[in-house]
Amino acid sequence: MFYLLSTVILVFSVMTITTPKVLRSAVYLLFVLIATAGLYFLLNYEFLAAVQITLYAGGIVVLIIFSILLTSHISHKLARPAPWKLWSAAISLIVGIPLVLWIILNHTFQQSANEVPVDMKLIGTQLLGTGKNGYVLPFELISILLLASMIVAIVIAKKDKEDKQHN
């Protein structure tokens, strides 16, 4: 099952970046993300799998598709990238793969103590805990960041009333 999912992830990852049609690329990305959720299910970590599906597959991919729908036409095709971009990508690939393999093979992984599905209540209290390993501070910081970026987006998108009057 693991090999099946990994094959799906690998094949569709390659297809995502090689297809010349932008919406197909988004759909292949969707398949990659769903297969990743499948890996989490395989690990018995159902909460993370459901989060993966809601956030990435249901949220981010839908937003990407939405923006493609608004901006691009069906006959539109992406141009091939410039040669120097291809070459630099190839070089970083050749350097990157041995580096990542070396790190993974040399790292000793500690087996997790609990193999049973993680309790939802534990996740909840940990997420909003203020003690050791509590995540309430990062949680609030991210909320402020999101709020700020949302306000910026609205300010940019808002039509200026005075401008309208001049026209």
Binding site: V27, E46, A50, A57, L69
Partner: protein, 362 residues
Amino acid sequence: MILEIYSFSSLTEAIDTALNNSMAPWLATLTELVIIGIVFLSFYALLGLFLVYLERKVCAVMQNRIGPNRVGKWGLLQTIADLIKLLMKELIPIKNADQFLFNLAPYIVIAASFMAMAALPFAKGLQAIDLNVGLFYIMAVSSLGVVGILIAGWSSNSKYSLVGAMRSGAQIISYELSVGLSLLSIVIFTGSLQLSDIVASQADGWWIFKGHIPAFFAFVIYLVAGTAEINRGPFDLAEAESELTAGFHTEYSGIKFAFFFLAEYINMFIVAAVAATVFFGGWMPLHIGNWQGFNAVMDYIPSIIWFFGKTFFIIYLIMWFKWTFPRLRIDQLLTLEWKYLLPLNLINTVIIAFIVLMGWYF
């Protein structure tokens, strides 16, 4: 307990042990998966046929007509005849469409509703998979359906389809928030996302009664948002016949059109089934606190009848909506969600959290 008589767990366990004794564990698991798949497929098809028939009959009653009455007794075979007609129709290929995505879209919509169905508890001991994040899982996978709709609209290369898909996307994404929040308010009561726990917590009364007025309020919001989520009237802007021909599935023909149609009805069933499970106790019979005699009498009705009774009652409510209210405009639709439902829902959730903290519920 009498409830045990109607439990399906003895049947499913018997099948499980029989399979495990006769073959290797991995083969037994595979066989079980195949059996469950076949059961769900046939259930899906039969349910789709029946719901379409029901819709036509309910619509006819609302409009003072008789409805289908020629094919079979009371017109019961009408939808089967329709299905045969759809199967034999020509699939018209679209010249300038993106063929791969055009053909893929119906399957994404169907697969999303299938995945959601897997976690529903149909009766005592009759549930394909009992995830510990069951309710969250159903919400997550049912949000995948919108991808299929968006792709269908875009790849058809037609402006009716594109406008329909855009409307549908905006609508589903906005109303998902309200659906999630209203379900969350009941999760606050139960303290668990596992569907079997949610059903078990209603053994002494359903949440719609136990949760006072806020629970009823959450149910009303869920019903409105759920109806919008499945693109049904009065929120059927995505396929408004008078302005968009048929919205995102204008260019589809034959059995591919039928897939969209079927998925829409199954999604209605899922919305109703989730409402029945969360607010009306799922397969749990009507129990009132400590009235032992009354509870025992209610237990004699099998749990599967309770579940389908409640679900079809809610389906009837949704159909009633559709044939009673006029269609909303897109700006009215978004105003309703963002300016009324969402703030009210947030306030309602806070009130429920307060009630739970103070222990003011039964």
